[in-house]
Symmetry: C2
Subunit: 146 residues, 2 copies
């Protein structure tokens, strides 16, 4: 989708790839890879499901540290993904169908032994092109069915 004629060819595919990289970093619980996905600036913002909104790269990064520290396993099946590109900005909306196990990865809470729980989160991800690539500037996830 997107405004016809306003975007360079392939922009939508680039945004899909950037969005996939975000979820790959999340599944891997890899802070370095996650940091590469984001624009590291004051204007970035994250709202995790049920959390208050956190602003600025320092707080956003801190939230990923906390989440990864308490996640031994997480898997996403992404459905109903829609990409809109509008110039140098793009947003992706989708459903995150999540299977996860809580607890520290160091505590032996492997996926095969820990208790798995499922949930669905409606997500909005906003990306900005920095001249070289698309960077995540906003992630908003909210529980569906509460």
């Amino acid at each position: 989708m997107g405004t016809p004629g306003a975007e360079p060819p392939g922009a939508e595919e680039e945004v899909r790839a950037a969005n996939a990289a975000f979820y790959a970093a999340f599944e891997a619980c890899d802070l370095d890879v996650m940091a590469e996905v984001w624009e590291r600036s004051d204007r970035v913002v994250v709202t995790h499901p049920g959390w208050p909104t956190l602003r600025g790269w320092q707080k956003v990064f801190g939230s990923w540290e906390a989440i990864f520290r308490n996640t031994s396993f997480i898997q996403f099946v992404l459905t109903d993904e829609q990409v809109v590109v509008c110039g140098a900005t793009a947003w992706v909306t989708l459903d995150e169908n999540i299977l996860q196990a809580q607890g520290s990865p160091d505590e032996g809470g492997a996926a095969d032994t820990a208790e798995l729980s499922g949930s669905r989160v409606a997500a909005t991800n906003v990306f900005v092109h920095d001249g070289a690539r698309w960077r995540l500037v906003l992630h908003h996830g909210s529980p569906v069915g509460v």
Copy 2:
């Protein structure tokens, strides 16, 4: 805030005004005014707190019909509002501090008699400039503290 030098002067104030118009329409439960706030296209999307994501103007409009039909009173105090303008796209993040009464407006459920409840919602609103004015293309609200 916003990317320095990339936006026309006054764009941030215009976005703040468009965002305020959205909440004014919501408080008034006025469908005609709400319809004026939005871009009426296939790419618009809304995620109400706890709801699945709805796509396209027809479904978005239907959701406002349903919400207004079941709201006799709603008042917003908006806090922690942040506006980012990026070319012809802008996004606003804020907290909606909500006081509301459910029930049909026609059932005499006025604010002075109906039971009021309070809640907080973290919201993301994305606007696109259509050449004349800013139009809402995405509203995502999620309950805080669930």
